[in-house]
Each structure stands twice: as C-alpha cells, then as structure tokens.
Amino acid sequence: MDRALIPAGLKRCSLPVFGLWMLLLFGVIGWGVFAGAVVLLKAMNVTGLNDYFGFGAYITVDLAIIALGAGAFFSGFLYYGLSRFFPSLKELGKIINLAVVVGFVCYTGALAILVLEIGQPLRAWFGYWHANVHSMLTEVIFCISCYAIVLIVEYVPVVLENRKLCEVKPIKVFGRSLHDVMAIFALTGTFLSFFHQGSLGGIAGVLFGRPYAYRAGLFIWPWTFFLFILSAIASGPAFTALICGVLEKVSGKKLVDRSVYDLIGKIEGVLLSVYIVLKIADTAYWGLVQSPGLGLKMGDFYWGPYGIWLLIAEIGVCGVLPAMILLWPAGRKSNFLLFGAFFLDIAGVSLNRFVMSIPAFAAPVMPFDKWQVYIPTVYETAPTLAMLAYCALIISLSYRYLPLFPREKELNRA
C-alpha cells in the first residue's frame, strides 16, 4: 500500500524508518493530548497562568505559529495574485504546495490549542453567537475559523494529487477544477489572513489600560495591527523556505531550485527591512512620546528576566541583522547566511509575539503594584509541543505521499 501511495518516480525513505519517525511524532502528540485532557478535566489550575498572567504559553505559541503559517501563505498570494504582473514570481510555484501545507497545519494546530486556552470550551461558539464587534478577539475568532476553512479548501487539491486518489476519475476532475479556482481562494485567504493577522496584533494594541501594549493607530486599528501583518509576511515565506531547506537536508534531495530560495530571500529582505524600520519608529514613538504621556518611561517596562535584552534581541539581532544579510546579494548566495537569516527572522517575529503576550502584561501599571514572573507548567508546554509535532507529522506525510514539489523529479535525476 505504502509504495502505491508514493508519487510515481519519486524516492522516499524506507517504510520502517518513516514508521519510526511517525512513532516518535505520535508519541509527542499523545503526550500533549493527555496533558490537554488533564487541563480540560481538572480546569486551568494545572497551568502556570494566574490573575496577573491571563495570557501565557498557549497564546504565545498560537500567535507565533499563526504569524508564520499565515505569512507562509503570503507566498500563495504572490504566486496566484501578483505573478500575473511580476512574472518573476512564477518561480514560487515550485514551492507553493509546501506553503499551503504549512499554512494548513499551523492554523489547524493553533485552533486545537485555543480550545485549551479558554476556561469554558463548551461555550467557544458564543464568539459567533454573541459577538462583541468591538473586541479584537471577535475579529480573531471569525477570521481564524474562516481562514482555517479556506486553508482546508486549498489543502484538499494538494491531497487529491495523490496517485491512488487520482485513479478515481471524479476526484481527479474535482481536484483539477479546484486548482483553477484556487486563485480566488488564495486572494480571499490572503485578505482574511491579513485582517486576522492584524486583529491578532490589535489584541495587545487596543489595551489602553496597559501602556506597555497599547498603541495609537489608524481608525480602530492600532499600529500593532499593521506591524503584525508586516512582520508575518516578512517571516512566513522565510519559514516555508526554512522548512523546505530542512526537508532537503533530511531527504538528501534537491526539492526546489536554489533560485527559489534566492527569490524568497530577496522578497523577505525587502519586507523585513520595511517592517523593522517601521517597528523601530513605532518603538521610538511608544517609548519616548506615548509612554511618558501616560506617566511611564521605557525603563519601567523592562525588569529582571523581562529585561531590555528583549528589545535588543527582537529589533537588533533578529531584525536589522537578518534584514541586512537578505538585502546583501552575497549574503543570499551563502546557504549558511541565507538560512541563518531566515532563522533569525523567524526567531525575531516569534520573540515579538512573546513580548506582546507575556512581558507586556507582567509590567505593573499601578505604581504600588509589583512585577511578577510567569513559568509555564508541563500542561502548557506538552500541548504546544504536541501541536508542533502535529505540524511535522502532516508535513512529513504530505511530503511522502503527495507530489509537493513539481521539480523534484528532474532535480534528482541521477
């Protein structure tokens, strides 16, 4: 059966090896599922959260993974949308399937974690039924679920390209026709993901009671709304590229032309530098103009483990540095520098999501209030790790049984 499912003419590692890898992943997932069950049954006291840290590991990982996932699919937008005008973007077609898979796993994974994050999962649907239009979280709930659907729709045709499934005529037809309308989905998807990414940024940005997180902005949208979108698209494609790179390393095969990486590098370089410039401007305004107006100086926002290093790491090491590497042609030439930059880029954006969901609320606002430190328990780490394992699982399966990379065959003719 396994053989039959593997795309024609492609080499894959032997079933036992793959089985072992699956076993490992399922192990982690099982562990996480168990931990999750405990959280649901015993209530949230098993987590490290408390009344000073309403948001913790769950939210952080969700924000990060969604940023990367949604951003990943940004390359879909570039391919289906913009390539009409910029033919050079056609290159991305060679990696687009992977981008879809990444987007899909990230979103579905994030959704699963969200169920644990709320105290009354049975009421999760209130978000649609009794929506408060003012709440950024409402925006998130709507977008995240709509977008998850879109991603499923986009993932389906990829799945349908499986050799065995293609044998069934109607399925094949269905799959093909889906492909043709994919552009529309890609565009709606992108719009949703933009909006949704923005509202995620809004979540922290609108909190006018929390000077650390609060940002002024356009209309109802704080600057974080736009910064989150930018940072997502400035890191997502890099994420896809990095995963692709890892796949190549693991499988020992060439999956896409080097030119694709270079192109992504170029795109990300531009986007990241735009983002980082704006981020610096935003930080300067926030730290030097807005906060003093609220009675606080930047120093009040950094303490102990949540020290100023966060800012330096996020903007300097993981922002300016990778941006420069990616803009620098020679930098893109070297695999080490290119993928290093990709990695830093991703780390930086993840760090940003961490800052916006934990230190931002650890900082005391009342003058007589005190700093607190949040330490996640295994009941938070396990499910999040399981979620990552799930992503790895789907990606591995997709790579093994679906023709993700149109050029794989040619590239590996020996």
Binding site: D51, Q120, R123, S135, L207, R210, K297, M366, P367, F368
Partner: protein, 251 residues
C-alpha cells in the same frame, strides 16, 4: 457616538474611599466575600490566584525605619467610565462584561463568559479574578451562601459588581411602592461594613450625595488617571506621599 450613549442617564454610581480613615482592617473585603458568595480554598496565600473583589493593597512611602510609613488601599472594581467602553468591556468577545449606561455599573455575566481572560489582561487594576478551580465549600458551609448572588462555575472571570443585586432589590421595592425606581439609591456591602466609615458609596451625578461631594474634595484622586480609564472609585488622602502613588509620574 459612544459619547452620546455615554451621556444618558442621571445616575453614575461611584465610591469614595478615605485612605486616612482606613486602618486596613479588611472588613470591607470580608463583608464582600460574604455578600457575594466568593469561594475560598484552604490555602489562600498565592495572591495571584486568590479570588477577592475588594483587595487591599499596601502603600508605603519608601522611607527607612523609623521614618517608614505605610497605608492601605482597598481596591474594588473601578467601574471605569472611559468614553464608550471600559478597558475590559471593550475587549470581551462575547459581551459577558458590559457597562450599564444608565448607572455606570460594569457588570459581569458568568454563564456568558467563555473564560478567555482577555479582560483580566486588559485591566490595569487587577480587579478581575479567574476561577482557576471548581468552587467548593466545605460541608456544611454551603448553607452560608446567599441566594441574591449566583455562585460562579470554574473557568469564568468574576469581579466586583458594586453589589448591583442590592440596586435591583431597591428598584424592585420602588416598583412595589410605586415610587420612582430611577431615584432609588443603595449602598454596597463594603461601605456598610467599614467600621471607620471610610467608604462612601453613592450617585456621583447627584450633587446632594455625599459621594459626589467627597469626589470633588481637593484631596480626592483617582488611580491611573493618565490612562483615561475614568475610574468611578475615588480616594482621599491628605498625605502627599499617598497621593503621589496614585499615578505614574515620569521622574
């Protein structure tokens, strides 16, 4: 537009707490627990998970012994009057917490709350507590529960309601007696209990009410005024070092 909605209603319930009268005895906090069926656990020493609607913060002048001074600040929900929305009501995705624009009370509906804790994150006063555990009363202490306030279930957020069930009670009586329910006034459990009479509760828009008078006292102040959350809870102190602690002032 929210401003417009905001303006309506001649009633804005608020509170004035005189920190110079307060001895920090905690009667307000306990009376509140008894009035509102607040659950308790064997170990309440983790203050970050201890449910209290009226928490008592300790302020100190940063001095050194023997010039060290401290005072106590009872902190109910501030029932923020910020235009349109309070920090918490603005973010609740399911309208579980809203502000009644007829009287300014920020309410909380437990069966609606999905427990996302966004409001907890939004509140700079830490006025909100999450039910981390199933509420359990040791036998036979359930007999002590008041039917006037529903007990909360696990996984939802709760906070001070300005004892609005007492408002409902007086309004109900007003309807029965045929008097104007909108004129009906009441006090909260904490204000009733305070043995030093440091807590005064009333309609801030009624010039006759003592609360309104005190809220205009030269020594009256709000906490974190700069955030423009417009708390309806005022504090009074003649001590500069206490008033200094009312807001962040960049040195």
């Amino acid at each position: 537009m929210s401003e417009g909605r905001h303006a309506q209603g001649g009633v804005r319930f608020g509170m004035v707490i005189d920190l110079d009268k307060c001895t920090g005895c905690g009667a307000c906090s306990v009376a509140c627990q008894a009035e509102n069926n607040i659950s308790f656990r064997p170990d309440e020493s983790n203050k970050l998970r201890s449910i209290t609607w009226m928490s008592i913060f300790e302020l100190n002048n940063g001095g050194h012994y023997p010039d060290y001074k401290y005072a106590f600040l009872p902190r109910p929900c501030m029932h923020c009057d910020s235009p349109g929305h309070a920090p918490c009501t603005f973010v609740c995705p399911v309208n579980a917490t809203t502000r009644d624009e007829n009287n300014g009370i920020v309410t909380m509906v437990y069966p609606r709350c999905i427990g996302c804790r966004y409001c907890i994150v939004a509140c700079p006063y830490h006025a909100r507590s999450f039910n981390w555990w199933d509420p359990k009363w040791p036998e036979p202490m359930e007999s002590m529960l008041s039917p006037e306030v529903s007990t909360r279930m696990r996984g939802v957020v709760e906070k001070c309601t300005f004892c609005h069930h007492r408002l409902l009670a007086v309004r109900s009586k007003a309807y029965k007696d045929g008097t104007d329910p909108d004129k009906a006034t009441y006090t909260t459990a904490c204000a009733d209990a305070c043995p030093a009479k440091a807590i005064v509760f009333g309609n801030l828009l009624d010039p006759q009410s003592e609360a309104a008078r005190l809220s205009k006292d030269p020594n009256a102040f709000q906490i974190l005024k700069k955030l423009n959350t417009k708390p309806k809870v005022y504090y009074i102190s003649a001590h500069d070092w206490i008033r200094k602690l009312s807001d962040n002032a960049v040195a």
